[in-house]
């Protein structure tokens, strides 16, 4: 569409179409906001996505939840979510970055088959890996520990992170690294001062994905963690959803609280999404 001008009606149609799409997209979100702010715990038959009465009770209940010893559960669970997601991102990223760099730049035996294996393991349903994983973590002494969770999250998102970063590293010209070598940089300096700053978009996207994955995961966390003060937030949220009874108000409030940081992060980094995702994708 290289036209320099556009008829007014066409512009109007464009805006109308996009606004409608946005409205459809946001409707479910508004609906959750409504549930979170409404005074009841149940759903009510209504197409109106805006709350009729507003109360912060649900937020107060969720944020202020304590356990039998009066410990502030929500605070501890938030902390444990932050620790797990932060550590996962850090560990996952440092593992993925080094591995992806190596796969992108060096030749060594087993490289091709290793990369194939990476992809292949992704095709095996994760839920079934849980059975052996449980025993392995017991063997490592990492059952019921945030450390174990971090390791599992970091490794399970590794294949995707490595592939994305490798794709991006492949697009960084080797000459830049050679120029740095000629400038007197050690291999470590080349990596830290030239390659990593250049890979920032891909790093941002990968970090975002790692963080989101750890922040949102609940099946493994619910299975591995046995102490309510160390639950991550999604596991805590799971309590509001019973098979026989769902506390919709609490659930919605909790959902909003959990989604908020991820969404903030997501929007802060979204300008990298386009570049970070496609550079790798185009190269495949």
């Amino acid at each position: 569409m290289s036209a320099r001008t556009m008829p007014r009606w066409k512009m109007f149609a464009l805006h109308a179409g996009l606004s409608l799409t946005c409205a459809v997209t946001l409707y479910p979100v508004l609906w959750v906001v409504k549930l979170a702010l409404s005074p009841t715990q149940t759903l009510s038959m209504s197409a109106n996505p805006f709350p009729e009465a507003i109360t912060l009770d649900h937020f107060r209940d969720v944020l202020g939840s304590t356990d039998s010893q009066g410990r502030w559960l929500f605070g501890r669970q938030l902390l444990s979510s932050l620790v797990v997601s932060g550590a996962t991102t850090l560990v996952g990223l440092s593992l993925a970055v080094t591995a992806a760099y190596s796969l992108s730049r060096f030749r060594f035996p087993g490289k091709q088959s290793g990369m194939q294996l990476l992809l292949v393991t992704q095709m095996f349903p994760a839920t079934l890996m849980m059975v052996p994983l449980y025993s392995i973590l017991q063997w490592l002494g990492l059952l019921d520990s945030l450390g174990g969770l971090v390791l599992v999250y970091a490794t399970s998102s590794l294949p995707f992170c490595v592939w994305m970063l490798k794709g991006y590293f492949d697009t960084i010209p080797r000459e830049l690294e050679e120029a740095a070598i000629m400038d007197g940089a050690t291999p470590g300096q080349v990596f830290w001062k030239v390659v990593l700053p250049l890979a920032r978009p891909a790093l941002a996207v990968t970090a975002l994905f790692s963080f989101m994955q750890a922040w949102n995961e609940f099946i493994l966390a619910a299975t591995l963690l046995n102490d309510a003060t160390r639950f991550t937030l999604p596991v805590a949220l799971q309590r509001y959803v019973g098979e026989y009874k769902t506390e919709w108000g609490h659930f919605a409030a909790g959902a909003l609280i959990i989604s908020a940081p991820v969404m903030a992060l997501f929007f802060a980094l979204q300008k990298f999404l386009v570049g970070g995702l496609t550079a790798g994708a185009v190269k495949g």
Binding site: A47, T121, S156, T223, G284
Partner: protein, 720 residues
């Protein structure tokens, strides 16, 4: 570059705190019951000085958490659970028999009986749960003693036009249907103790319930929330529910509790299942005496009173009924009366196998897809499919031989390639390359590759109650020959495969076309507010997908869902989304489309930006229409960027467990389950048939692997 690895281990060890010496107690209670158990635990600490660490787990997750944690020494010392699973827990050796502290004569007889297994008692009975009839006092009805009386009252109390009913209960749940079945003279088990479904009582009881529903005497698809709302809003006069329902009733509503009526046709009472909740001592506890003491403490004396007063539980301990406060409580005494007529739910393994087939039949009949006559056979077929016989054990030797030979062949083939130049010359940077990869490779090997290999090999085993037996390829032949059910039935691998493929195709097509369309609109340089639109349109990507799923499940709710409310605005009847395959499937696809189009939009946007605009200018000069430009320029140039995204997207969708599991939950009757959710069910919901589930996973793996080979060919052509 070994430092990250060291840091990792340090991190891992600092994050795992050492547990202080105290007793761990796990339960699945919420609300008042939870408070009561916490009070009781505090009292225990005060009396003995032993700390109690309490963990509340959602009830539906508790059992699998127990069965996985206790054998790995990560479980509690004491746990509270209903007695129905006792046999299973016993077989998995996670529960210890009760010591001399248990005095059977001190408890209600059905409650202790429920805890007996082969002459030994397990656990301490805490409370009983059973169903009773709740009636609003303001309706001026007398408690019906027969079904005829009940029907007469219901007809009078119902008003279909105003959506008012005489009776409401969760009719789709077999727990609620069981008393009716028994009232019609039904027996769950035959003389050999095997479950039976194709009985006249089954047909009659189904027909009776269906007729109540058809005459609008009770609502369709009633959930707990609906029952509660109807009762509180006086839109139903009666409710069948258990003790927990008292906590749901608005304080202003006066009500009374009565035994369920007798079935007029047979003269038999509707005998509800009696569930006994007990405090069990884990077989793996390191402090058996203390754990036993805690379990007993919770079951008797002050703790019982706390549970009754705060938790509104019906106590199993006889002494509690002597307590003044308890004796005055009409609810408690009403339920005791009901309970004395009930029989404990059998704690046999066979009982655990009844639920899923019964639920399937009930829902199928109530939703109108199946006649009451065919309900029993439907359940029977499902029962036989779910409870497959263990395949015969075979010798693993031939498999090991084949595996070893294969490995040897692979190694020799690999080393044959490696001739020629020296290693150092071929891989001058191998050292550095491997060092960089090592930390990631080590982590992957331990936590991804090993579970993967174990997962693969599990498919050759049969798992039952913690024991594995080698069965060779039997799991695969059973799946592929669709043993036990017709190919066109939802449980068949082929049916599920077709559903999965449809699901993947529908989603990918919708994701790509919507994403691409929006990307083209957003690319328009003259458009104002582009940034705003873009940010709003990627919102779904940022929402955690289980929240998305729950949200949409709520929106598709038949009575309270926003979708039906919107349809209502256009005068369309509410759709029962999860009652028919097509609408349930559509609901899943709509949810996943909402979730997935932003990814494709972002990828398309990126790819569109990389197409030079002078190409379009050139085409315009050549007189190409917009459509031609799209077809001849945009699409071909987008291919290299879109193809990997599509491949990735198709693999993700193929294994998109959360949406299926949380939105439709496989309804109706497992018809919308995809292969992954089916594998999950075999592993965690159907007697933990890990081997069978692993075989499913291996088949999923093969399908995706074949797909990846096809796409590799496709993208290979792209590069050529």
């Amino acid at each position: 570059m070994r430092s990250p690895w060291v840091a990792l281990v340090l991190l891992a060890s600092t994050l795992s705190f050492a547990a202080p010496p105290s007793l761990k107690l796990w339960h699945g209670y919420r609300g008042g019951e939870e408070q009561a158990i916490e009070q009781a635990a505090k009292a225990f600490t005060a009396a003995t000085g032993t700390q109690v660490e309490i963990l509340a787990v959602p009830y539906d997750a508790l059992s699998s958490k127990l069965t996985s944690a206790i054998p790995h020494e990560a479980g509690p010392d004491v746990f509270i659970f209903a007695h129905e699973r006792l046999r299973q827990f016993h077989r998995m050796k996670i529960v210890a028999p009760s010591g001399p502290g248990l005095e059977p004569s001190k408890y209600l007889k059905p409650a202790v009986d429920a805890l007996e297994l082969d002459g030994k008692f397990y656990g301490y009975p805490l409370s009983i749960k059973c169903l009773a009839l709740f009636m609003r006092d303001d309706r001026g009805l007398t408690a019906p003693t027969t079904t005829d009386a009940l029907e007469a009252q219901l007809t009078a109390a119902s008003n279909p036009a105003k959506n008012e009913f005489g009776l409401a209960y969760e009719a789709g749940d077999f727990y609620f249907h069981a008393p009716i079945l028994f009232g019609f003279g039904g027996q769950l088990f035959d003389a050999q103790g095997r479950a039976q479904f194709e009985t006249p009582a089954m047909e009659k009881s189904l027909a009776w319930v269906k007729s109540l529903q058809d005459r609008h005497l009770m609502p369709q698809e009633a959930s707990g929330a609906l029952v509660k709302t109807l009762f509180n809003e006086n839109r139903t006069a009666m409710v069948i529910s258990g003790p927990w329902f008292t906590g749901e009733i608005d304080p202003g509503v006066k009500y009374s509790i009565h035994p369920l009526p007798m079935v007029s046709e047979t003269g038999l009472p509707m005998a509800p299942f009696l569930g006994v909740e007990a405090a069990f001592v884990s077989s793996r506890t390191t402090q058996p005496e203390a754990a036993e003491a805690l379990a007993k403490f919770l079951a008797v004396g002050d703790a019982t009173v706390m549970r009754v007063i705060t938790g509104r539980q019906i106590p199993a301990e006889l002494a509690a009924y002597e307590n003044e406060a308890v004796a005055k409580d009409t609810m408690i005494s009403a339920f005791r009366a009901v309970a004395e007529r009930g029989t404990a739910t059998p704690n046999t393994l066979e009982m655990a196998r009844v639920w899923e087939p019964m639920k399937l039949a009930l829902r199928a009949v109530l939703q109108g897809g199946v006649s009451p006559h065919d309900g029993g056979p439907l359940a029977g077929r499902r029962y036989r499919a779910l409870n497959r016989e263990a395949p015969p054990t075979t010798s693993p030797v031939p498999y090991v031989v084949v595996l070893v030979l294969g490995l040897v062949a692979l190694v020799t083939w690999q080393s044959r390639k490696a001739k020629g130049k020296s290693f150092k010359q071929r891989y001058p940077e191998a050292g550095r390359g491997l060092a960089y990869v090592a930390p990631a490779a080590a982590g992957l090997a331990v936590l991804v590759v090993v579970p993967f290999v174990i997962g693969l090999s599990l498919s050759l085993f049969h798992h039952e109650a913690g024991e594995y037996s080698f069965v060779g390829l039997a799991n695969f032949t059973d799946i592929l020959t669709s043993k036990g059910y017709r190919i066109t039935e939802p449980l068949s691998f082929y049916f599920t495969l077709v559903v999965t493929l449809l699901w993947t195709l529908a989603n990918v097509v919708l994701h790509v076309s919507i994403g691409l369309f929006l990307a083209i609109l957003l690319k328009e340089p003259l458009l104002k507010l582009r940034g705003v639109y873009r940010v709003l349109l990627i919102v779904p990507w940022a929402v955690p997908n289980y929240i998305t799923a729950m949200m949409w499940k709520g929106m598709f709710h038949r009575q309270f869902g926003a979708i039906n409310a919107i349809l209502g605005m256009f005068g369309i009847e509410p759709v029962s989304w999860f009652a028919q395959w097509s609408t349930a499937f559509a609901a899943n696809v709509i949810t996943n489309t909402w979730l997935g189009f932003p990814f494709m939009m972002v990828v398309s946007l990126g790819a569109l930006q990389s197409i030079p605009t002078d190409l379009y200018e050139a085409a315009e000069v050549d007189g190409a229409s917009k459509w031609t430009q799209f077809r001849r320029i945009t699409l071909p140039l987008l291919r290299p960027a879109l193809l990997p995204a599509i491949i990735l997207g198709s693999v993700w969708t193929f294994n998109m467990f959360n949406i299926i599991y949380l939105v439709s939950g496989g309804e109706p009757g497992g018809g919308t389950d995809i292969l992954v959710s089916e594998a999950f069910r075999w592993a965690f919901q159907r007697n933990e048939q890990y081997g069978f589930a692993a075989a499913y996973s291996v088949l999923i793996f093969f399908v995706l692997f074949a797909w990846s080979q096809v796409t590799k060919r496709l993208s290979g052509e792209e590069q050529a």
